[in-house]
Symmetry: C2
Subunit: 96 residues, 2 copies
């Protein structure tokens, strides 16, 4: 199991719309192959900064299967207009 970290900064004034877009996209993630959950964290120090955490069975489930699926287009359609810059995306494995 890996965790996707998507570090997202949103345009000022788009915070609520972005959060609503994540809520709206939950079902699309959860019905995707190998997706085992997601949550969104917001930075206390910068209300425009968010990190989306998504649990995937493997990096390939995210980067190959999900990115090629209509659910990825749905996700991007719900939130991409809120992004101030392209998200920084990486994957983490639990070590402790």
């Amino acid at each position: 199991m890996v965790t996707e970290f998507a570090e997202i900064e949103v345009k000022p004034g788009m915070e609520r719309e972005f959060i609503a877009g994540v809520e709206k996209s939950k079902a699309a993630f959860l019905r995707s192959a190998g997706c085992h959950g997601l949550h969104l964290m917001r930075a206390v120090e910068n209300p425009l900064k968010f990190v989306l955490h998504v649990q995937w069975e493997s990096v390939a489930h995210h980067m190959e299967l999900f990115r090629a699926a209509p659910e990825f287009q749905e996700w991007r359609g719900n939130v991409a207009h809120c992004f101030a810059a392209p998200p920084v995306v990486w994957h983490g494995e639990l070590v402790v």
Copy 2:
């Protein structure tokens, strides 16, 4: 409840020592006021990059109480020599 995110890059060759230092520090975190758990994630794309997640009752429990406590010195003593640069630290609140 907030999550501390400490983004840590370690010096090449110090990865195992760093992970062992986090293991060794677990008890110091868990006996600190307001600490409700921690885990360490390692980046798949960059084996020198880690994120420590610590659950705290509030930002003050981390930044005021913990940083003034001997447990913080213990933590730094166990791991700081492994850091390639000062950690980037921020706090997140769950929104979705």
